[in-house]
């Protein structure tokens, strides 16, 4: 009989847990003593990584998501094949080529300008050309969204545009307008200097052009989520959308109010006067409205689903929701993040 089993196991358990901890400390020593530590701690490398992170997170990733989601909506909501499939692929490859073209100088440290690339700091020409190619690829998508909607409307005269496509095209137009600011800044102000044709640059004007893009781009990023909130979530959890019209109103309000608010990124800048700063601050307050509308409409739609499942009470219906459904959890977590992010944004 092995009577001392628990005793032996106790010794071995503690021994090997301590071993694991000591191994981690050993890894730390290896890291510090290796060239990797100096490489990781080098501020210049850090700025390269911040630039790469920002450029991909801000210009590549959300653009590709919006484009792909948009093509899917075009076929699924309009129930017809996408017009211009070959052009769509051209747009896709423009984005890929642009990304690689911008990533190369970032990686070798010749474009550590961050995704905001504020002049007079100037990076490699290829960084800016890469960003321009990504944006041009997305403009192909914008054109295709408009073309596909127009063809559907011609074949479905007098019918209401399906809500998902409505939001999709609103987002596409929002992006088309928003991207013009940074495009002007890059093409007319930065590239001449980066190519060596000009020696001077208006740094204040460049910041103003960039601020045109810098705010509304976040609504371009937001659109796929809001389209999913309005068109996928209610039925996925067994309810229905509280108000289709509210959704359309929210999308139009975003299209209108996201534009004239970029100067709230320039409140501390000397080149913009107090008048425009005040105007943009006032409009910024108004752009919170479509988000409040969305929160109300989606929570109401979720409540419908809950009460259809037998939920009762002022707040008790929350328990009746299909918490086992991934879509339910996804929208809940998403709303929590939206709450934190939106509250942080409105209070600054």
């Amino acid at each position: 009989m092995f009577l001392a089993k628990r005793l032996v196991l106790a010794h071995f358990w503690v021994a090997f847990v301590a071993f694991a901890a000591a191994i981690v400390l050993g890894e730390w020593q290896m890291f510090v003593r290796s060239p990797l530590s100096a490489w990781v701690g080098d501020p210049e490398h850090y700025y390269r990584s911040v630039t790469g992170h920002g450029t991909v997170m801000g210009y590549v990733f959300p653009t590709l998501v919006a484009m792909g989601f948009g093509y899917a909506i075009t076929e699924l909501a309009l129930k017809r094949p996408l017009l211009g499939l070959r052009w769509a692929w051209i747009g896709f490859w423009l984005v890929i080529v642009g990304t690689v073209m911008a990533a190369a100088p970032i990686a070798v440290g010749r474009a550590s300008v961050l995704y905001t690339f504020y002049p007079p700091m100037i990076g490699s020409v290829f960084y800016y050309l890469g960003v321009v190619l990504v944006v041009v690829g997305s403009w192909v998508w914008v054109a295709l969204m408009a073309i596909n909607l127009r063809a559907w409307k011609k074949d479905n005269v007098g019918q209401r545009v399906p809500l998902a496509m409505f939001g999709n095209v609103a987002g596409a137009y929002l992006w088309a307008w928003t991207s013009v600011g940074a495009a002007i800044e890059i093409i007319f102000l930065i590239l001449p200097v980066a190519l060596g044709f000009k020696d001077t640059i208006d740094a204040g004007l460049a910041r103003v052009f960039f601020s045109w893009t810098l705010h509304a781009i976040v609504y371009f990023w937001l659109m796929p989520s809001y389209i999913a909130f309005y068109t996928i979530v209610p039925r996925a959890i067994g309810g229905r959308l509280y108000s289709d019209t509210m959704g359309r109103v929210a999308f139009v309000l975003f299209l209108v109010f996201s534009m004239p608010i970029g100067i709230h990124h320039l409140f501390a800048d000397p080149q913009v006067g107090a008048g425009f700063k005040f105007l943009h601050a006032a409009f910024t307050a108004m752009v919170a409205v479509p988000t409040f509308l969305t929160v109300f409409t989606i929570v109401a739609s979720v409540e419908i689903a809950a009460r259809l499942r037998g939920g009762k009470g002022l707040f008790g219906w929350v328990k009746a929701l299909p918490w086992g459904n991934p879509m339910m959890l996804a929208v809940t977590f998403s709303f929590i993040m939206l709450g934190f992010g939106g509250r942080a944004a409105s209070s600054t």
Partner: protein, 87 residues
């Protein structure tokens, strides 16, 4: 007493901020940022650059000494540039 700052930059966009005070502006080459503020408490404050301006941005910071008005005016009476660096 209120203090007026007039500042600009010659190379890149920098951010000028004096920690825990109302002093916060962008320094844009070609433009002069002017603002007036009061410093309510004397003491030492951190003054980092808060807009990425290239390699070295992480090291671009200093300490600001906020002096009581009388002490400052006494030091400034000679009309020279002032420094808190001990000679």
């Amino acid at each position: 007493m209120p203090v007026t700052f007039r500042a600009t930059s010659t190379d890149a966009v920098h951010g000028f901020v004096v920690d825990k005070t109302n002093a916060n502006v962008m320094l844009i080459p070609g433009f002069i940022a002017t603002f007036t503020t009061r410093f309510d408490k004397a003491g030492e404050r951190l003054m980092p650059c808060h807009e990425y301006c290239g390699t070295g941005h992480e090291a671009m910071w200093g300490r600001v000494q906020v002096l009581p008005a009388e002490e400052f005016l006494a030091k400034a009476k000679s009309g020279e540039r002032m420094s808190c660096v001990p000679r």
